[in-house]
Symmetry: C2
Subunit: 600 residues, 2 copies
């Protein structure tokens, strides 16, 4: 927490706070003329005023109670005053900005506390990267807690090459060194966990033995029982109401993930039916954003997710409670965050009846007013954490990577990755191909493009080749050093020269995303920190990302940029590509690109 | 926890448990043919079976899933299988039994986890007494956690003389030495807390600085804001729906206290209206028993409280959830207790649709079957903790205490304690009296009896005298060394000689409760441990208590035995008697028994 917003721990101030609450001492700030949203009773209260002292809530009292002229008053004009939103699970790196920069967007959207999992930077820079980000978080104008990355690498060196390898002992060291580390992050290798994998359970043990909860990530229903029995107590991957109810029954908190409707991760509308249709209590249901690119970060924040929950049938106070108190409760931090309860941090949001955020307070200080950062926030944003030089040198590519596979000599079967937007899943298709017409006719005939993943951590520089079906790109190439989770460089395109330009562009910027066409760079978002993150302000990165998306569409890509980044994530169904080759996820098996070639 | 029921911590067994859950290893026990009560979704599920391994729940699976003949099967015959109840707040000493003995009654009533506050023994034996009881708890067949007594003595030496004085540093030492100490116990001096009293807040700080919650006890609405701002986050004293909603809004968990309807503490029916009538969410509402004498312990357990919640309009699965998961969540222990979630302790209860308990499992072992202890429980009950010799020598009375006050010589005003059953409150009445006819006519005319409180910790041996109006006793005397919270000896009666016999009876037994009449002891429950607790089995103590109550009624007492024990509790409204005199609670002021005496 940036020093501007640091406050005393509750145990040091209960005496003074009690005196403010009973009217024997004057509050610092009084927010009056507001209707408090009570996340405990799940009701919106009549017009009241909220007394703040030392950055904490002293009391919520009837309108007109404070008559002192020493307090600073803020007029709410009848609006709703709610607790700041608490994002139960996200990855800052997905937003391509630092933690310090992330704060601005979060606060604009009424989010004041986040639980982030820095497993992207961990996959590139190992434990050191996590510690940089924790230092970053300590200077941010936001309450930031870490769920320690649990699955780095996401699979094993046989299936992908990552820059990080978080062993159980490193995870234990992080827990012991960083009080912000409050849980183990999403244990993504759910098949390994359910199968009793030794390393996976040793990592879980590091968290449980310290009394820290274990966060989850699981697809499908068949592994739920074994996964939950492994000590995992939340997930943000429930994509149907049936799965959500299975998980709730097994004692797993559900984090409803709202994502921009054009992306593959807006699972909230389906999962929420466990409450609205099946009648499950919402008390163990939270909200989260998970991944947002820099552009979407401003448009689809937690405030939007809460509105989506309302749109799909949850009463407003319950939806806001899911988005605040419930997450704080899940992490056993509800004495400090997520409500207007006495003694809690004065992290507050002023909204209209539709849930639009007009103002945000952090530690009792107004940080967003009318949608804009106030002076105190501006000041904090201008003294961010600076990552060390080594964070800027992480893209080590082979000199002249071979970007296209060898063209088969005879008709054969190609194992292609079939894209079906807007889903996260990809599919495995066995395509009978006849290569006699060369690459161009082959790509056109089957609506294919090239894809290659280049190891970029300077370990062996290997390249894997594949073919994407229905990716949609009609010309040029796109490339990214954000290639979940190992973050090798992924490039896709229609021709070798554009693919090469895209790769070299990212080599020069030491990371980023770009779109090229006919030898021209149409858009480029440089991400020099770990090849994942910009060091610019969030608004700047959002602008560049917005331009990137235009170019992305211009060359015809049907799968959005963030879906593309997930193509190398070999824990998501069904058929993926890493630097080690084409991975059939369910069987954890590598397939060749071409097979059944007749003898030449 | 008795060694018979100790199990491995979850972090050591997740691998095996996951393998059981996915069917790759055989569960120890399968409870089949049951309808699981899911406290997460708040629904009763279709017929299923529950797999148990190593004392933990591995999975809840569809009926007929386990086909191995190596597992031990238990046939549920269509009954409901629910998590063991979790009592959010109670005092074991009120039940006049040891922790080891308490377990039997708790398990019969479906309670498997309790949060107890040993402030009675602390008031007699200070920190040492708490540590004895913690040792006792470690040998009990029950999950017992301590909320460290926070208010010992309940007021100050000016207002009562206690045997204990729990300073902030002693409380800190208890937190650091005993992992079972999970919270600070009810901070009863709510007026002092709300007024910013230094010692009260130093004690609160000891808990909060260790990340431990602070439990509360508050009457009335006017101090709620200041009390909540002091960091207190629960209370079991909400006696109306309005107070309950005030407290919920302020971020305070509500523990609905169910008490036998004939006693003064059945506040559940009123407070529950915050949910049923006012529409507050029940998610921050728990159930508790608080105080039960040995007799009522068997009849009015947590199962009965949960049934009361249903009777007053809460759906069955929600009521059971209030009585299990919610308390576990309040103490951030829901990863281990209070549900049928995977990995949780297999503390289970088999009930019919009315909520009657038929069987109880502790750590996966059947302990109650058809209402009776099983062999494994019997074994555990026969090897209880033994309190040390010094625990048996705590009643040190003056040699010949003066039991009656001096009869005034002229008409005057008497400050009498007016009893209004069945309330907890007593009232202050100023009675114009004419003593010319002597005590007998005076008592008869105004429906009075004598009451005296004798300091019994061997400190100064002072005696305070008072008069009770409408207590109802018609002959003889009653006495008790359980006199909340300082536990001085309280005796009430119609004549001096019976009062004396009652006192001497308790001196001889080193504590207890008795009823005497015309020189005969009608009933006597010896409580030799700290003058509060019997070392007999709960069923024995219950029998003796039941006989005591008959005698209690026989001599005409209208206020029940436990209400009588509260007469010296100077933090309950409105007019009380301690060894220091008659205390007007709201003003914390001592009044003389007689005033306005005309000059003789």
């Amino acid at each position: 927490m940036h020093k501007e917003f640091e406050i005393e721990p509750l145990w040091k101030v209960t005496r003074h706070l009690s005196q403010v609450a009973r009217g024997a001492a004057v509050p610092d700030t009084v927010i009056r003329g507001v209707r408090p949203l009570c996340v405990f009773t799940e009701k919106i209260l009549p017009e009241s005023e909220v007394w703040i002292s030392g950055g904490r809530i002293a009391a919520v009292v009837p309108a007109g109670s404070c008559t002192s002229d020493e307090a600073q008053f803020f007029e709410g004009a009848g609006a709703i005053l709610a607790p700041g939103l608490v994002d139960a699970h996200l990855h800052i790196e997905s937003s391509m900005v630092t933690a310090c920069a992330y704060a601005e967007a979060a606060l604009k959207n009424g989010t004041t506390t986040i639980f982030c999992d820095s497993h992207e930077i961990a996959n590139v820079c190992d434990k050191e990267g996590i510690e940089w980000m924790l230092e970053d978080a300590r200077m941010a104008a936001l309450n930031i807690f870490l769920t320690i990355p649990s699955t780095v690498p996401a699979t094993t060196p046989e299936f992908e090459t990552a820059g990080g390898n978080l062993t159980p002992s490193k995870i234990g060291e992080l827990f012991d060194a960083w009080p912000e580390a409050v849980a183990l992050g999403e244990k993504m290798d759910f098949v390994a966990v359910a199968s009793g994998d030794e390393r996976a359970h040793a990592i879980i043990a590091e968290s449980l033995r310290r009394g820290r909860p274990v966060c989850g990530h699981i697809y499908g229903r068949e592994n739920v029982a074994a996964y939950a029995a492994s000590g995992v107590t939340d997930t943000h991957e429930a994509v149907t109401a049936e799965i959500a109810e299975d998980l709730l029954r097994a004692g797993v908190w559900i984090f409803l993930r709202g994502g921009p409707p054009t992306t593959p991760w807006h699972s909230l509308p389906q999962a929420i039916r466990a409450v609205t249709d099946f009648g499950c209590s919402p008390k163990r249901v939270c909200l989260c954003t998970d991944d947002r690119d820099a552009d979407d970060l401003f448009l689809f924040g937690m405030d939007w997710v809460a509105k989506e929950a309302r749109r799909f049938g949850i009463p407003a106070p319950v939806a806001w409670s899911m988005g605040s108190l419930h997450a704080a409760t899940r992490y056993a931090m509800d004495g400090e965050f997520g409500s207007l309860g006495a003694g809690r941090r004065a992290d507050l949001v002023l909204t209209n009846d539709d849930g639009d955020v007009h103002a945000t307070w952090l530690s009792g200080k107004l940080v967003i007013d009318g949608g804009h950062p106030t002076e105190v926030l501006e000041r904090a944003l201008q003294t961010p954490y600076r990552y060390p030089a080594s964070a800027y040198q992480t893209v080590t590519l082979p000199n002249s990577p071979t970007l296209l596979p060898e063209l088969p000599k005879t008709p054969c079967t190609a194992n292609v990755i079939k894209i079906v937007t807007p889903g996260i899943e990809t599919f495995h298709d066995r395509l009978a191909i006849n290569p006699s017409g060369g690459w161009e006719s082959l790509l056109t005939e089957h609506n294919l493009c090239h894809v290659a993943v280049i190891e970029r951590h300077g370990i062996h520089g290997e390249v894997a080749h594949g073919l994407l079906q229905d990716f949609g790109i009609t010309e040029g190439a796109v490339a990214s050093t954000v290639g979940h989770d190992a973050h090798n460089l992924i490039v896709a395109g229609k021709n070798e020269s554009d693919m090469k330009l895209a790769v070299e562009t990212l080599r020069t910027s030491q990371g980023g995303v770009c779109v090229v066409r006919n030898g021209e760079i149409l858009a480029h978002v440089p991400l020099p920190i770990a090849g994942l993150i910009s060091d610019e302000r969030a608004t700047e990165v959002a602008n560049k990302t917005s331009q990137l998306k235009l170019a992305w569409n211009e060359v015809g890509c049907q799968m959005p940029y963030m879906g593309f980044n997930l193509l190398p994530l070999s824990v998501i169904p069904n058929f993926r590509i890493t630097d080690k080759g084409l991975v059939l996820v369910r069987n954890l098996k590598i397939l060749p690109l071409f097979e059944d070639q007749t003898a030449g």
